[in-house]
Subunit: 226 residues, 2 copies
DNA sequence: ATAAATTATTAGGCAAACCTAATAATTTAT
DNA sequence: ATAAATTATTAGGTTTGCCTAATAATTTAT
């Protein structure tokens, strides 16, 4: 199908990285995404972002108005979701089939997500049993870009006495994931909120009968179901 | 280990493609490899090859003297073998695990071979059961660049009356492999040589009780054991 | 309301990897 | 042995995606 071929083969790795970055920034923001936030996310300079944004706008992947920020078009969003789909399928493969630890997969998946082959994505999905969540608990978009709906709730939003199950992480950096490993916090770990400090929102939680202190930054980045 | 890291992370995709092309050309030639043969293999222009060869020589991946051709250094050869190892492991994965046909895998494997992660290569190798041959019958180098020794014999080298088993193909192009599929020739197919035309070396062979005519070009590209 | 700080854009450059056209070196053919 | 053909190199250009430095627009602070 023409659109599919177009979605799969037309864009450079750089362009794909911009689409993905904009998509992720849109998740946590409303309205247009600023040039500077993109440059921060991709560790490039703002001037480079301006340049690339112009190109993406010409290709109808983003809507863009000077000083008013960027937003993905429907085509841009579809392609961003395809890259995220590939990224998360590969992460699943690496962890579940190749014995990678969840904190080791990010860099490799960043490379693998740019491999262009519609058949590969589909067959990999089948081979893995059409998983719905990656090893970090993030939902894997299906071939049409639909995400399994699991509204995310942050650990930082819970109150004293709440019980919860850990369902994902917003910061997938190796250092954060290693920190979680050290605290024995992982996907589906059961958590009880013992208390919250009023001055900085540090949270005291119970994990496997151990008491652990987590900063607001940490609890903001942990998704739970409760 | 330092050398390993060096081998894995130092080179661009283009550089890797040149190393691989030179390695393959060296298999069928003796002495230095000409600029023009490289440009033909990679469908680039000779001027681009000259440029790249200079760069590879500076990085000690090839030995190079004006008008005397190119040869891989030991480092260059090691890295070429790593890329070939990755290419063939991925082809094995695609055919044996993801239901690709053997004539569909080349382009995807050309992309996957450039993924940089020593752990990925090792774990993939283990996951696949440390296969020795890819789906085309080509040997897969081990982690040290050693190839399982299976000296290759061409079908074109056999005489009338010889029996043989098909063990691999030199031309892995989709069109050639599809031609073979149509003739019911595949890995481990049993062949009997019925006759050879003296004027153009066209060979008449018996495959599953069917008589088939193969051009010299075809028989040159089929490896056999007999 | 104006100065200061922030954010975005433009202009001009650079490196990688390709290209064409012109030229040079070597080999082959008569 | 010289002309013709082949092969290789050089010079100069292009595109992509990045950079710095200068400038412009907008927002924030006093």
């Amino acid at each position: 199908m023409y659109l599919y071929a177009l979605l799969n083969y037309m864009f450079s790795q750089s362009e794909e990285n911009y689409l993905k970055a904009i998509f992720h920034l849109q998740q946590n923001a409303n309205g247009g995404i600023s040039t500077s936030s993109i440059s921060e996310k991709l560790t490039t300079k703002a001037a480079s972002v301006t340049e690339m944004i112009k190109k993406l706008a010409e290709k109808n992947l983003v809507d863009y108005q000077k000083y008013y920020g960027v937003q993905l078009t429907e085509t841009g969003r579809k392609h961003a979701l395809l890259i995220i789909r590939k990224h998360r399928l590969w992460e699943f493969f690496l962890v579940k089939r190749l014995n990678f630890n969840w904190d080791e997969v990010h860099d490799v998946a960043e490379q693998l997500e740019h491999i262009k082959s519609p058949k590969l994505v589909e067959e990999l999905d089948i081979f893995l049993g059409r998983p719905e969540y990656d090893p970090h608990g993030d939902p894997i978009p299906d071939a049409n870009g639909n995400l399994p709906k699991a509204p995310k709730k942050r650990l930082s939003g819970l109150k004293k006495g709440d019980h919860a199950i850990c369902k994902g992480f917003n910061d997938n950096s190796s250092s954060f994931l290693q920190f979680l490993d050290k605290q024995n916090i992982g996907l589906n770990t059961k958590i009880e909120v013992i208390g919250i400090e009023s001055f900085d929102e540090t949270m005291t939680i119970l994990v496997n009968s151990n008491t652990i202190l987590l900063s607001k930054t940490a609890t903001d980045n942990i998704y739970v179901e409760h």
